[in-house]
């Protein structure tokens, strides 16, 4: 699932970033094309609503354009920087709603290659795990989601959450241990 960046793509991104930082709107448009799916997915998993995810995704790119001249390539990968903006917007979103919805993985599958029995079994297991992830707190939930559902690298998660990679590994370890306990209790 992870959209790996080849050396050529990384070169392209670097070039586009240089141009965008210097005010080239078209280059920023190309970066939008490259990252809109990942940003949308990240937000969707947190707000569980297509409309809200679309609104927030648009806001992320507007805010990114407003701040692009302050972006430093050497400090963080561009995707991680976008995700950091997304995180802040999602926090504001929940602050304004004063509610916290649960992560909803039950969306219509675009494709299924499984037979119905296998699918039912998988969905049952998925539901249990979804419930367990919902019970994780703060950073543990973020790290588990970003690593296993969204397929972010440790360095990307570290930048997005403003922590060291070592700290992210510790959080992941604790999150998985907690998840194991929750799943055991559920059985």
């Amino acid at each position: 699932m992870r959209e790996y960046e080849t050396a050529d793509t990384l070169f392209d991104i670097d070039r586009l970033l240089d141009k965008a930082i210097n005010g080239d709107g078209d280059a920023f448009g190309r970066l939008y094309d490259m990252y809109v799916d990942r940003v949308y997915r990240h937000i969707y998993y947190r707000v569980s609503s297509t409309n809200d995810a679309e609104d927030l995704t648009q806001q992320v790119f507007i805010k990114a354009w407003q701040a692009i001249h302050r972006y430093k390539k050497t400090t963080s990968p561009f995707l991680a920087w976008l995700i950091k903006i997304s995180q802040n917007l999602v926090i504001d979103f929940y602050r304004s709603k004063k509610t916290r919805t649960y992560i909803d993985f039950d969306v219509v599958a675009t494709e299924s290659k499984h037979d119905p029995a296998q699918l039912a079994e998988e969905q049952f297991g998925r539901y249990e795990i979804q419930q367990a992830i919902n019970k994780l707190k703060g950073d543990q939930q973020q790290v588990v989601l970003m690593r296993f559902i969204e397929d972010f690298s440790f360095s990307e998660i570290a930048v997005a959450l403003g922590k060291s990679q070592g700290a992210i590994r510790v959080i992941l370890h604790r999150g998985l241990a907690k998840l194991k306990t929750i799943l055991e209790k559920a059985q």
Binding site: E54, T57, W65, R169, H173
Partner: protein
């Protein structure tokens, strides 16, 4: 000994990349085997449920709005008055009569802005008594705006206001009594300085008439923005701003149509025709100085129409889908016109042809989706659109071949898998699916 969290993440990465099996990893770290096994099993049981992606419709619309935002924000920084324009304005400024009118106008605007009447007028709709006041205030704003960039921005802002009004009007029931609250003081005050303001409207008029007022106003504002932009010397960036704003209107009108009651849908289609004609007019102007940018914006508009056709096909609205495809075809033919005139004006034809050829991939992808979503009765219209798209691709490639610039662009356009062989145009049997230069 390595810490458990380091071992855990290392094992997870290795297993996910297929470098080792779970068992290999456990054997490698016997001292933490028990804990590691449980954690790895939990971690490996977490899978992304499905590949979630935003819809193409959203992506295209959001991109157009983002680019509009970017270009508008850049425009504010870049646009400066030229010395020639300054001198014309200078004469305008020193005419004492004008100066008097401006002074009176400023006082009036300031005093009106502070009154409840002016405030209430801002939310009035066509057919309301206070709507005349609203238009009068707009006219005052025109009088006290002195540079072309601001004048154009003002007209575009007013065009947006007309769409706001349209949006509100189309979602109300057929007959609506116009709002006659408020006084006519503002109207009287403006008549003192000879500003054309309509007489207070009849209190109750039909919804269709009110919508027509908004649509006519939209057309007027758009025409004024286009005419002003066309007359600015070296005004490419202003022309582009108008073009991008009209592009955003196309998406907006789709949204308005989505929320409109059935009785208003025809008039919204008419409004879209106004916007599309405006789009064509402004791009004709832009193409004379920057055919590449004009082509880019036109291709974006074509993609917006395809996204619309797809959305209508999903809803099962054959008429809506066919309308959107016809608009796509109109814009495609216009794009051909840009391409042909580019050569005559001595501009960069390679970039224009390349843009057209590369855009075919996205267009064919969208057409494949529309074909899949369209009912059997509606597939014929999609097939026609596919055929003309193939033709556009062929023409663009031919242009590139003549200049030895085909590069990595395929000779044949990429065909969506779900299109039956018979509908894949006439290109499949005539030429091989060549990549690379086919120089003449």
């Amino acid at each position: 000994m390595k810490k458990i969290e380091v071992i855990l993440t290392q094992c997870l990465d290795d297993i996910r990349e297929g470098r080792v099996s779970l068992e290999d990893c456990l054997n490698q770290y016997p001292e933490v085997r028990a804990e590691l096994e449980l954690l790895l099993k939990v971690a490996l049981s977490i899978k992304a449920p499905i590949d979630i992606r935003p819809s193409n419709t959203f992506k295209v619309k959001a991109r157009a709005e983002l680019m509009n935002y970017i270009h508008t924000s850049q425009l504010r920084k870049k646009v400066k008055r030229s010395p020639g324009q300054l001198s014309i304005r200078y004469w305008w400024h020193i005419a004492w009569a004008r100066a008097t009118v401006i002074a009176v106008t400023v006082v009036l605007v300031i005093s009106l802005a502070g009154t409840g009447t002016a405030y209430a007028a801002q939310s009035s709709l066509p057919g309301d008594t206070l709507y005349s006041v609203k238009l009068g205030i707009e006219q005052l704003q025109r009088i006290i705006t002195f540079d072309e960039a601001s004048e154009i921005e003002l007209e575009l802002k007013f065009a947006d206001t007309r769409l706001d009004e349209l949006e509100e009007l189309v979602s109300v029931p057929v007959i609506q009594t116009a709002n006659d609250e408020g006084s006519n003081n503002g109207v009287s005050a403006m008549s003192i300085i000879n500003i054309t303001v309509a007489e207070p409207e009849v209190v109750s008029i039909a919804k269709a008439a009110r919508i027509t007022i908004a649509v006519d106003g939209y057309q007027r504002n758009l025409n004024m923005a286009i005419t002003k932009a066309a007359n600015v010397v070296e005004g490419e960036i202003l022309v582009e701003e108008v073009a991008l704003t009209i592009l955003s209107h196309l998406g907006r009108l789709d949204d308005i149509e989505g929320m409109a009651l059935v009785d208003s849908q025809e008039i919204i289609a008419d409004t879209r025709s106004v916007a599309i004609n405006g789009h064509i007019r402004i791009l004709q102007i832009l193409a004379t100085v920057n055919a590449v940018r004009a082509t880019e914006i036109n291709l974006l508009a074509m993609q917006v129409r395809l996204a619309r056709a797809d959305a209508e096909a999903v809803k099962g609205n054959i008429g809506g889908m066919e309308d959107a495809l016809q608009e796509y075809e109109k814009l495609r033919r216009f794009g051909e016109g840009i391409s042909n005139s580019t050569e005559m004006s001595g501009q960069d034809t390679i970039s224009v042809d390349e843009l057209n050829a590369r855009a075919t991939t996205e267009h064919m992808e969208s057409l494949g989706s529309i074909y899949g979503n369209a009912s059997q009765d509606a597939k014929g219209a999609v097939e026609q659109a596919i055929d003309v798209t193939i033709e556009t691709h062929k023409q663009a490639v031919q242009g590139l071949q003549q200049q030895g610039a085909q590069g990595d662009i395929p000779t044949e356009p990429p065909m969506p898998d779900n299109i039956p062989q018979g509908d894949k145009g006439n290109t499949q049997d005539s030429e091989s699916n060549n990549h690379g230069n086919n120089n003449k």
